[in-house]
Symmetry: none
Subunit: 216 residues, 4 copies
DNA sequence: CATGAATGAGCATTCATTCAT
DNA sequence: AATGAATGAATGCTCATTCAT
C-alpha cells in the first residue's frame, strides 16, 4: 500500500535533510540509515551508475524490495544519500570553523572537509559523479548542495577581508571554486593513491591559494 | 585478423599502454577518428556508463559492429579515447608553455588546458569518471595519463624556482595536484553552469595558488 | 539474494556438483521445473548452442529475466538440466534393474534407458553435445554423470559373473562403454530416422554384446 | 567475380568428394586443403557451432574472406569437410578390410576406423554433432555419409554368414548400428579421457558384439 | 585469388522496477 | 514494514556474411 512519490526532490534547506522527500512522513529511520551507510560504503568503488540496487541492499542486509519500499526509486535514494552526506559534511565544517581568526577558521574548515571526504570516499565519489552529470536525469539536489557548500566557503573567505588585505581583482566566487576543487582533488587523490599526505599537510596546501589571495 | 585495438593512438609512453591486446600495427584510421569524435561529443552528456556503444556508432555514422571491429570492446575504446584526448591536451599545453618566464609559461599552459577542456567537455567528463573509479574494471591508462599531466605541471612549477623565491615547505607534487584540481573544477563548472568567467580569468584564478607558492 | 542456482536438482552425488555457485538452498520450484521441461522439449531440435534462452523462456511461459533469476546463466541452466535428466534416467534404470537374474536385470535396465531416451530426445541431444565438448567452457557435470551411468552399468555387468561364465580377457569397463555406445546410437538413430525398431528389439540388439561377453 | 553457389550440396558417391560442390570447377586446391586441416584440427575442441569461421581462417593462416571465396558459406565448408573426412575414413577401412576371413576383415576395418577417429578427433566431433542435428538446417550430406559407412559395415557383416553360423533373429542393420555406436563411443571416450586402451583392445571390444552375433 | 573493413541480425546478460504475499 | 519472485527494456558483444579493392 505504498503511496506514490513525487519525482521532484526538493532539497530542504535548514530543515532535516531526509524528511522532505521520504516516501512516508517521519524521520529517517533505521533501515534508511543502514542503506545510506551501505551505499556510501559501496559507492566508493564504482560510482552510482556502476552500483546496483541489489549491491546496496545486500550490503545493508535487506532485500531489494526494501530499498524501493523506503525510497521509491534508485534516483531518489541517491538523491537523499547526497543530502545526507552533505548535511554531515557541512556540519563538520561548521563546527570546525569556530575560530576568531578568519584564516584559521577557513583552514580548520578545510581540514574538517578533508577528513570527512577521506573517511567517506563513497560520498566524494558520488558527489563528483553527480556534480558533472548533465542531460535529462539531472537532479537539482546536486546544485543545491553545491550552492550550500560554496556559500559556506564564500562566507569564510569574505571574513578574511576583515583582518587581512585581500586582492580585489579576483572574485570571491572564483576563489571559493578553486579551493573547492583543490580540496576535492586532494581527497580523491588520497582515495585513489593512498594517503601520501597527512590531512594537515593537505589543508596547508589548500591554504596556499588563500595565501596568494591575501596580499597586495 | 581483425583489429581489436590499434597501436596508433597509444598515448606517448615508453611502452604502449594497451600493447597486450593490440592486434595489429598501423596508424589510427579514419573510422577510429570518427568514432573518437563522436564519442567525445556524446560523452559530454552522460559519462561513459550512460553512453551506449550504439549511440556512439550512430553518431559516427557507422554500425555497432564497426566499433567492435575497430576496438574489440567498449572498455578498450574508452581507454583509447582517453589516451587520444590526453595526447591532444598535453600537446596544447606543451605548445602554450613556450615562454621564457616560468610563471608566464605556467599561466599560459593552464590557459590552454582550460580552453581545451572547455572545448572538449566530453573528454573532461570522461576523465573525471575514470579518474576516481576503482575495482575490477580499473584500467591503468588513467593513472598513466594523470602521471603525465602531473609530471608536466610539476616541471613547469619546478622552473619557477629559477627566477622566483618559492616556498620550500610545500611539496611541488602537492602544489601540482591542487593546481590540477583547480583547473578541473573551473572547467567542469563552466560546463555545468555556463561560462561565468573568461578563460583568462579562470587562468588567473588558478594562478592565485602559484602566487601563494611564490614568496618567502 | 536472488537464486542463481538451486541445490535442489543437484545430481545425487556425495558433493553437490554446482555447489560453488549455488546461492540458496531450497527445493526445485515450479518455475525451474517448467523451464526444465521447456528446455528438454526445445533441445531436441537443435542442441544447446542453437537453443536460445528466449526460446526456452517463451516455451515455458515466463520471461527471459526469470531464467536468469532462477539459474544465473544459460550455462548453469544447461548444467542443471543435464543433472535433472540424468537423475531421472538413472532412477528409471534402477527401478527396471530389479531382477534376480543378472542378465535380465541388465536387459531390463537397457530397455528402460532406451525408452527414456526415446521419450526425452532433448536430453539425449543435449548430452551428446556436452559429452564430447572440450575447451574452456567445459563443465565437470557431464563427466560426473557419465561416471554415474557407467558405474551403474558396470555393476550390473559385474553381477553377470555370479551366474554366467564371462570372458576375462575383456575389461568390464570397456564392455560398459560399448554397451553405452550401442544404447546411445540406437536411441539417436530412432530420433533421427524414426523408430524402425521396437524398444524391445533395440534392447535385444544391445544384449548381443553381452552374449558375446558371456561364454568361454 | 564469384559465381553464386547452390545451397544444396549433393554428396558425390564414388566420385571425388569435394569436386561436386566446389564453388568453381576443378579439384580441391591447396587453400581448401589447408582449411580442411585447420577446421578438423580446431573442431576437436568445440564442435561446428562453437567454431567460428574466423578461428578456422586464422588457424589456416588465411583471411576470413578466403573461406568465403572458396566455399561460399560456413555450412558448405562444413559439409565438404564432412565429405572429405568420410572419404578418407572409408578409404582406410576399405584398405584394411582386405582379408579372406570375414571376421578378420571386419576386425581390421574397425581397427582402422578406431585409428582414424583417434587421429582425427575433429572429424569425429563434427560428425557426432551433425549426425544428431535436426531442424531446418539439416544437410543431407550427413545421411549420405552415414549410409555409406553403414552399407560398408553391413556388407562386411553379411560376409560373416559365409563362414560362420550367425543369429538370424537379429537384423544385420541393427548389428551394424550398434557396432557403429561402439566404435564411436570408444573413440570419443579416448579423445575425452585419454587413451586407456590400445586401438587393438578397442577393436577387440567392438568385436564382442560380433561374437555375440556369431553362434546359435 | 585474396583480403581487410564493415555490417546487422541475433544473443546472453543486467538491472531498475513492480507486486502479491 | 519487508521481501522473494518475476519482469522486460536496454545493452554489450558475436559472428556469418558482403564487398570494394
Amino acid at each position: 500500500m505504498a503511496a506514490q512519490q513525487a519525482e521532484t526532490v526538493v532539497y530542504a534547506h535548514q530543515t532535516p535533510v531526509v524528511e522532505a522527500s521520504t516516501r512516508r512522513p517521519g524521520r529517517t529511520n533505521k533501515t534508511q540509515l543502514k542503506l545510506f551507510e551501505a551505499a556510501m560504503d559501496i559507492m566508493s568503488e564504482g560510482g552510482p551508475t556502476a552500483t546496483t540496487v541489489e549491491d546496496i541492499a545486500e550490503r545493508a542486509g535487506v532485500s531489494k524490495g526494501t530499498v524501493y519500499y523506503n525510497f521509491g526509486s534508485k534516483k531518489t535514494m541517491i538523491d537523499q544519500l547526497l543530502q545526507y552526506g552533505a548535511k554531515l559534511l557541512l556540519a563538520e565544517m561548521t563546527v570546525a570553523s569556530d575560530h576568531e581568526d578568519p584564516r584559521e577558521a577557513l583552514r580548520s574548515a578545510l581540514y574538517a572537509a578533508i577528513i570527512y571526504l577521506r573517511e567517506h570516499p563513497g560520498f566524494a565519489r558520488l558527489w563528483v559523479s553527480e556534480l558533472w552529470r548533465a542531460g535529462a536525469d539531472w537532479s537539482p539536489t546536486t546544485d543545491l548542495i553545491r550552492a550550500d557548500i560554496m556559500r559556506f566557503i564564500r562566507e569564510l573567505i569574505s571574513r578574511l577581508a576583515t583582518r587581512y588585505a585581500v586582492r580585489t581583482d579576483r572574485s570571491i566566487e572564483g576563489v571559493s571554486l578553486i579551493i573547492f576543487g583543490a580540496v576535492f582533488m586532494l581527497s580523491m587523490d588520497e582515495t585513489r593513491h593512498g594517503a601520501e599526505r597527512t590531512p594537515e599537510e593537505s589543508a596547508e596546501l589548500a591554504m596556499l591559494t588563500i595565501d596568494g589571495y591575501i596580499q597586495a
